[in-house]
């Protein structure tokens, strides 16, 4: 087998896969943030908490009702999405006329409440979720656990479906129109407030879906979303929230960058995304795919 710059291929491709998996989660979460921000003008700080709720929902469905992973993949996002809809109707809706800041602060408070309650009930240490497709393939140059491969493919499919729904369907067209000019779209007889509610619910469900996918890879714990969402914010700043495809590409790309850093200079792997953010701010402040207003 060949070595690349003195690094065994096992390590190189292994980290590349890990990077792709992290990237898959960055992409799914930043996509949800972008969709919500586009419609609601709110940065959903609770995104990490809702991702965690998705993982917990799957874990509880399996533990209490014995519902398998594949069913959870559908049920958990719907449950968490409904929870998101309730939040939007009860609280967020009342803040749209104010500065964006208040939506950010509100969702920050909500994430504290949600995570605190889960920590209080289930503690901070994680619980394992059995892999639904155990085993793997030996590809010669690396070992590929089947489930991990599945996650990368599933995340790609989810991202592309979301892109298609927004850019190519009628509902997506309404959505984009309402983002541009809500008053006008409302005047055409489309119920914009309901569209907003659906968008928030869908964005939250997307976060929960990512959470379900993460459950068999990570430990299911109350704090699994907190640190992730902070990195995702950096991803969002790097990509800019203007473009759906941009979020997807940036997410996967940064995951890979992080994975490669782990191979070549491990101590910087935690911070590399923030360094990239600083460089992007210097060169193209609007973000890689953002438009300057």
């Amino acid at each position: 087998m060949f070595d690349f710059l003195g690094i065994p291929p096992q390590a190189l491709f292994g980290q590349m896969l890990l990077g792709l998996i992290n990237g898959a989660f960055y992409a799914m979460l930043s996509l949800g943030l972008a969709v919500i921000f586009g419609m609601l003008n709110v940065i959903n700080f609770a995104h990490g908490a809702q991702y965690m709720m998705g993982a917990f929902a799957a874990w509880l469905l399996l533990g209490i009702l014995d519902i398998p992973f594949w069913a959870s993949l559908v049920i958990a996002p719907i449950l968490v999405g409904l929870f998101g809809i309730v939040l939007e109707r009860l609280l967020l809706k009342r803040l749209y006329h104010l500065d964006h800041l208040y939506g950010f602060l509100l969702t920050f408070g909500l994430s504290l409440v949600i995570e605190g309650l889960f920590r209080w009930q289930w503690g901070s240490s994680g619980a394992p979720y059995p892999s639904p497709i155990p085993g793997g393939y030996n590809l010669g140059f690396m070992f590929l656990p089947t489930y991990r491969g599945f996650v990368v493919v599933a995340a790609l499919v989810i991202c592309l479906v979301t892109w298609y729904a927004i850019e190519r369907t009628k509902l997506g067209a309404y959505l984009r129109a309402a983002t541009e000019n809500p008053t006008l779209v409302n005047a055409f007889g489309i119920n914009v407030p309901r569209l907003i509610t659906i968008t928030y619910g869908a964005g939250v469900a997307l976060a929960a879906l990512a959470g379900v996918l993460a459950a068999p890879i990570q430990q299911v714990s109350a704090l699994m979303g907190t640190n992730l969402v902070l990195v995702v914010f950096a991803v969002v700043v790097i990509g800019g929230m203007g473009s759906i495809m941009g979020s997807i590409v940036t997410g996967f790309g940064l995951g890979l960058v992080e994975g490669m850093t782990k191979v070549f200079y491990p101590p910087a792997s935690n911070t590399v995304i923030f360094v990239v953010m600083a460089i992007v701010l210097l060169i193209k402040p609007a973000g890689l795919f953002g438009q300057t207003k």
């Binding site: 921000f37 940065i43 609280l91 009342r94 803040l95 104010l98 964006h100 800041l101 208040y102 950010f104 602060l105 509100l106 920050f108 408070g109 909500l110 994430s111 504290l112 409440v113 949600i114 995570e115 605190g116 309650l117 920590r119 209080w120 907190t226 640190n227 902070l230 990195v231 914010f233 950096a234 969002v236 700043v237 101590p267 935690n270 911070t271 923030f274 360094v275 953010m277 600083a278 701010l281 210097l282 402040p285 609007a286």
Partner: protein, 310 residues
């Protein structure tokens, strides 16, 4: 005397006798956080810049203080100076990058940088990772003139630092510089068209706020004699936002009131453990939904409307 001046004199008198009534360490902690919240509020309330990463200045200054005093064995004055200058330098670098974006992006960028600083603090040797810096000596100030091992002695030093810091904030706000900041906050294109370089003013405000947060953080390390990862964490950044919000954004006294309320609450609720976060989150939600002006802001409004009516 005007009512405001009377209130100030009463507050000062209360601050002077307070350590004989209440636990001095509690008072000193609250004063540090009051200064921290005031520095944060200077940026948000008067420059309209919402930083969600202010813990990086507070926490790094605590580490700088600890390192200078403990590892290098230098007097605490130099520790405070190192804290302030270090935080200001960090503010200059992060601020110069963050002000390139506006609004909610600014908040996300500062949050991300703070998280980067947090990760660096976990790894760098001088912060001692998870252990943090502990047992920082309380060496006498001014070459031995002012001993600070006694909590009550130290209290007056901390009070003096707090008053100095808050006087700085007051002077900034009521200077021509502060007026320009408010103009930029309210209408940036217009301020730019009048010839003000908005970015320079914003950056200066950011650095000043960082330096004062650093003063608060270094003082906190002097009082509690430790600097840990908690001081640089995202939850610390959230806490200072909460303090300013509870007291009232954009009011001078609000952050002080907010800091005392939150620190008191933490003291009483310490036994609830994990539940403190839930309560803090709930306060966030209630204030954002119902009392956006904060305690001081709401009272001021009520006072104004009463005088109008009467």
């Amino acid at each position: 005397m005007k009512p405001g001046q009377i209130a100030l004199v009463v507050a000062l008198a209360a601050a002077l006798v307070a350590p004989f009534v209440a636990y001095p360490v509690f008072l000193m902690t609250a004063l540090c956080f009051a200064l921290f919240a005031g520095a944060f509020n200077l940026l948000l309330g008067y420059a309209g810049l919402m930083s969600f990463g202010h813990a990086m200045f507070f926490g790094m200054a605590a580490y700088f203080f600890g390192h200078v005093v403990k590892a290098w064995g230098l007097p605490p004055e130099l520790g405070l100076l190192a804290g302030v200058l270090g935080a200001a330098a960090l503010g200059l670098v992060t601020g110069a990058l963050a002000i390139r974006r506006q609004g909610i992006y600014f908040a996300m960028i500062t949050l991300a940088f703070a998280q980067m600083v947090y990760f660096l603090c976990v790894q760098m040797p001088f912060t001692h990772g998870e252990d943090g810096l502990q047992g920082i000596d309380r060496r006498a100030l001014l070459g031995g003139l002012i001993p600070i091992t006694d909590d009550r002695h130290l209290y007056y030093v901390v009070l003096a630092i707090f008053l100095f810091g808050y006087f700085c904030i007051y002077r900034f706000i009521h200077s021509p510089f502060g007026q320009v900041l408010k103009a930029i906050r309210d209408n940036e294109p217009r301020a730019v068209s009048l010839g003000y370089e908005a970015d320079r003013y914003k950056l200066l405000a950011f650095v000043l706020s960082a330096a004062l947060s650093g003063l608060a953080g270094a003082t906190k390390a002097m009082v509690l004699q430790f600097a840990t990862l908690t001081d640089v964490s995202a939850s610390q950044s959230g806490e200072v936002v909460l303090m300013a919000l509870v007291g009232g954004l954009g009011t001078i006294t609000g952050p002080i009131v907010g800091a005392f309320i939150i620190i008191t609450m933490q003291n009483y609720l310490a036994s609830f453990g994990e539940f403190v976060l839930v309560i803090q989150g709930a306060i966030f939600v209630v204030i954002v939904m119902a009392f956006r002006k904060g305690l001081v802001g709401e009272i001021a409004d009520w006072w104004k409307s009463r005088r109008k009516a009467g």
